[in-house]
Amino acid sequence: MKLHRMRIEQVRQFRQPLEICDLEPGINLFTGPNESGKSTLVRAIRAAFFERHKSSSVEDLQPWGDSSAAPGIQLEFDWQDKRWRLAKSFLRQKRCDLQVGGQSFNGDEAEERLAELLGYQFPGRGASKAEHWGIPGLLWIEQGSGQNIHDAVAYAGDHLKSALGESLGEVASSAGDELIARVERERAVLLTSTGRPTGDYARINQQYDEYRARLDELDASINTYCHQVDRLGELRQQQQEDAAKPWQDYRRQAKEAEVRLAEVEGWVREQQREQKELQRCLDSQRLCRDQLRAFAKQQQELEQRDKARQKAETTLTELQARQEQVETRLAQAQTSYQQARETLKQARQDEQRTALSRESTQLVQELAEIDGILSNARELQAQLQQQREQLQANRIDAAQLKKLQKLSRDLDDLAIAQQAVATRLQFELLPGQSLQLDSESLTGQGERLLLEPTDLHIAGVGKLRVQPGGEDIADLVRRQQVLQDDITGLLGSLRVENLVQAEERAEQCRTLQEDIRRNELLLNSHAPDGVDELSNRQQLGNQRRQELQALLAELPESAADKISVTTAETHLETADETLKAAEKAEASFRVELGLASQALQSSNTEWQKLQDEIQSPDRQQRERQLNDQLLDLRATETGLETSIDSRQQQIDAANPDILRQDINRFTRTADAMEKAAQERDKELIRLQTSLETLGAQGLEEQRAELAQELQLVSRRRDEFSRRAAALNLLLELLKAKRQVLTRRLQAPLQRHLNRYLQLLFPQASLTVDEDLIPEQLIRTANGTEERGDFAALSFGAREQMGLISRLAYADLLKEAGRPTLIILDDALVHSDPQRLAQMKRILFDAAQRHQILLFTCHPENWRDLGVAPRDMQSLKVSA
């Protein structure tokens, strides 16, 4: 289909006719700014085809505000070697004329022909909408809708499919899809979309499980029942056996054992009694023997005592022989001692006399010396007494003296001050003349210092009062007076008349003190402890001398051969020791002698006593008796031992312990058996009752019924299962076959798509779904396949894919012998320059087969499209 010419008149901004001629068979580029009329051209082409000429819903075609306009559109195009001329006007003048070759069509008929040719529908009423546009809706891309391909393909779907169908021939099943839907519905009755049982199938499965569980329960009950029946049978049989009371036999055996045991126990008691008797017999024997042993021991003792007695006698005799010797030795020692004592006494007296004489001599010398010293000391003492008295009389207090000295100096100083300030009255009186100064009569020449107001009486003249200047004078006078008073007081106190006298007296005192100190030192040297002490010593010495003389007088004169005290003492000591030894020896001898005689006496007594005892007739008889008794006991012992041994053998043979165990065993066996029998009776009754109850329930019949139901359910379940499996298989197969077919049908479209796509993305492919709508873009980047859903692609990419798809559809349609005209209003405005360049190659390629009208407000983007652009402005001007 080739559009050659179009002319529009009274359409929107084109009130005046606008004619575009000589359209190219390939690309036709229309450029112009916004509002320059590009969209109006597109709208006019659409209206010419899609809008019914009778439609009143096309007011938008009229120039603005001009309701009287009759918008008119004329198109001329070639199709199948025929020239088609369409003239259509709306609203004020509703007409549609179509000339094809030599034929003319008018009105609706003309419009139907066009719709059939291009593949679209008219609306029932009102304005034409996207869903009516069919193929042109797909190929004529409105401004800003290039990316939205889904709806457009859907609306064109039937036309596209028929185009495919025609190219492939009628191989598809006429009713395949409907059949698939039915199979799916059938399957949905049994299975969910995920393949799980649902509805009746699910219910029957559940039922099956329930029945199965109930059946298991019943089986368990039946099993219990059977076991109980078996148990009942056993119990019945045992009960029959119990009827004979088999435990009684054991009771009898226990009884027998008891009797036997009683007998054996009698033996045991007898045995114990005899054993006790034996023990007593043995004890008696021991006693007899002990007694006899004691008798024998006494005899031995008697002999020993005899020996002891003889020994004591010998000892005493020996001692008595020594007596004289001991006594002699003692007497000698006593004598020696006495002599030594006398010698020592004499030696001591001698020594005393010598000492006393010496002391006496010494004492005389000492006394003479003391007498000398004492007289000197007494002299000094008297002298000192005198000096001290003197000092006491002339004593001057040094402090007071010092104060006096100071006061005197102050007074002197004051006098000098008075001199300095006093009013000096100098007079030189004529001889004989006198003046009365106060009470003093002044004559001659002189000078007076006036310290106080003084009246100067001048006889005959009167009186002059001299008033000394300044207050100091008066003060000085007062101070002088004070000092004078103090001095006078002090002098009185010191009992001197003046200072000089005081100082003299002070000097005298000092000298006296020195004398006293010297004499005191002297006295001290003579009598350090004082004179009285010295005197005492003298007195004591005299007394001693008298004593000594008395003592000496008493003492006899010393012997000529006198020996020293020390020697005498040594002699005495020796004698003393000898004496002591002798005395001790004598004393011990005496003790020894006493003991020996005592020992002899006691051993005699003891021997006698024992002798008497042993020799007593009682004792003799007793010994005989004991020996007899012992013999008897021995005989008894032997008898008992024999008896015990034989009885023990008897007892051991009877084995009473085992007998006791037998009794226990038989009794317990009998008890247990009887008890078990009672338990069995109870269990039997219990079981009987239980079985009667269970039996009445008809368990096996119930089970059979349930098994039957379960079988039914199971069969039904299998049927469902088989049907589900069959439906699954069928559906799977149907879908698989259908898909294979679809792929085969889509192959041509795919080929066209890929042809364009290679120019944009080498090795990429774009899949379409069974409605031929682009689905996934598959690209290979860095060796990995990357799949992107169409809807998820960027706006620009979707626009590019959208255009590629449309071009492919156009190729498909063309191959199917359908007319194709492609209109792009401001397409690919979202593509980057690189992609745009590739898209231009694609467009140029498509233009080799299809006529393309491309409207743009960006002429610079399309300069390299290989065609001269038509500027809308210049078109208008040329119109």
């Binding site: 029946v229 009942l232 009445a696 069959a726 197969l733």
Partner: protein, 374 residues
């Protein structure tokens, strides 16, 4: 001349889980009904007694109602019923018989031998040597004592036992309870009435299994009858006549379909079988879709006629023919699916593939019918 009926294995209380609910109920009911018919037969032909050789009940714990119903079913015959317990209803310490006694359900003319012993029926002219089972299973021959048992002279010696005759019924026998094959001769029996084998079986001239009077297995072994026994005098050879008494015949067919005419034969046979029956048909081989359709139609008709018709298609393959496919208008890929399913039957899960094929064919046929109506 004593005449009596010999029967066994009534298996009262048996349930049939392989059948649909109402069929199963009817078949269980039939077991009571056959007892009633035995009573009628005995009464109508004035038999002297009815001997039941064990397994009267199918289980020990049947419901009280079942017990009462069984004894009620005996009312039609007032003569003596002589029964022994079998392995299903053995005389255990607690058993269906003790329950029946407690319930007071056993009429005076019913003699149940719960312990081994001789029951003399002088009036009828015979003594019954009863060997009841007192255990579920025993490995001793319970009829041993027959040899030494004394009976009044002039009375027939009739043995009544339940178990498996050694060396003859080694296979497929219900219990191991053994019976010596020459027991009748050794014990000088005039007749040995046996139970446990569900078909009619003659062991020797005097020893018979009567089989169950109402069939309950797909086994063609003479089940569904009772034995009418006539013995002229002690020592005389017994005259045995099997008498059909069962309601349903159970038939099991194994049919191989290879060519279309095989199907025709089957459909013919199906239409001719005596009603009411219990049918179990196992199919193998293959059939076309149209053949399958015909088969289904015929089975549907048979189900209405008979007590139960069960058909196992597990080994039957569907082979759609070109005509099938054309008839179903399975064009385009549907045709491919049909073909593939046909292939699947050869290699993979036959059953699933056949079912899928049947479903597809059904859907296509439905569609055609709809289109036809439109």
């Amino acid at each position: 001349m004593p005449r009596f009926l010999h029967t066994a294995d009534w298996q009262i209380g048996r349930q049939y889980s392989r059948f649909a609910q109402d069929d199963a109920v009817a078949l269980a009911e039939a077991r009571f009904a056959v007892v009633e018919r035995i009573a009628q037969l005995a009464a109508a032909e004035a038999f002297d007694a009815v001997l039941v050789a064990g397994d009267v009940f199918d289980a020990q714990t049947v419901s009280d109602r079942t017990i009462r119903r069984l004894f009620n079913a005996l009312q039609g015959f007032a003569g003596p019923w002589i029964m022994i317990p079998g392995n299903h209803d053995a005389a255990l310490a607690e058993c269906v018989w003790s329950r029946a006694q407690r319930l007071g359900a056993i009429p005076a003319n019913v003699h149940v031998a719960l312990t081994p012993g001789v029951l003399e029926f002088a009036e009828q002219g015979f003594a019954v040597l009863a060997a009841p089972l007192t255990q579920r299973q025993t490995h001793d021959d319970l009829t041993c004592w027959f040899d030494a048992a004394e009976t009044a002279s002039g009375l027939l010696r009739i043995g009544l036992a339940h178990g498996s005759v050694q060396g003859i019924l080694t296979e497929d026998i219900d219990s191991p309870n053994p019976i010596a094959p020459d027991r009748a001769q050794r014990a000088r029996l005039d007749y040995l009435a046996l139970g446990d084998w569900h078909g009619i079986k003659q062991i020797d001239t005097r020893t018979w299994y009567s089989g169950t009077p109402e069939q309950e297995r797909f086994k063609n072994n003479g089940a569904g009858q009772v034995l009418a026994v006539e013995i002229a005098a002690p020592g005389a050879e017994p005259q045995i006549t099997p008498r059909p008494i069962g309601q349903y015949t159970w038939q099991h067919w194994q049919v191989q379909l290879t060519v279309d005419s095989d199907l025709d034969v089957l459909l013919q046979r199906l239409s001719e079988v005596a009603a009411p029956s219990v049918l179990d048909i196992a199919l193998s081989g293959q059939t076309s879709l149209s053949g399958n359709y015909r088969l289904q139609q015929a089975l549907s008709v048979a189900e209405a006629r008979h007590r139960s018709v069960q058909c196992d298609f597990a080994d039957l393959r569907l082979q759609p023919t070109d005509e099938d496919i054309a008839a179903l208008h399975a064009d385009g890929y549907l045709g491919e699916v049909l073909a593939e399913l046909r292939e699947c039957q050869q290699t993979e899960d036959v059953e699933t593939a056949r079912d899928a094929l049947a479903i597809l064919a059904g859907l296509l046929r439905d569609r055609q019918l709809q289109e036809g109506m439109e």
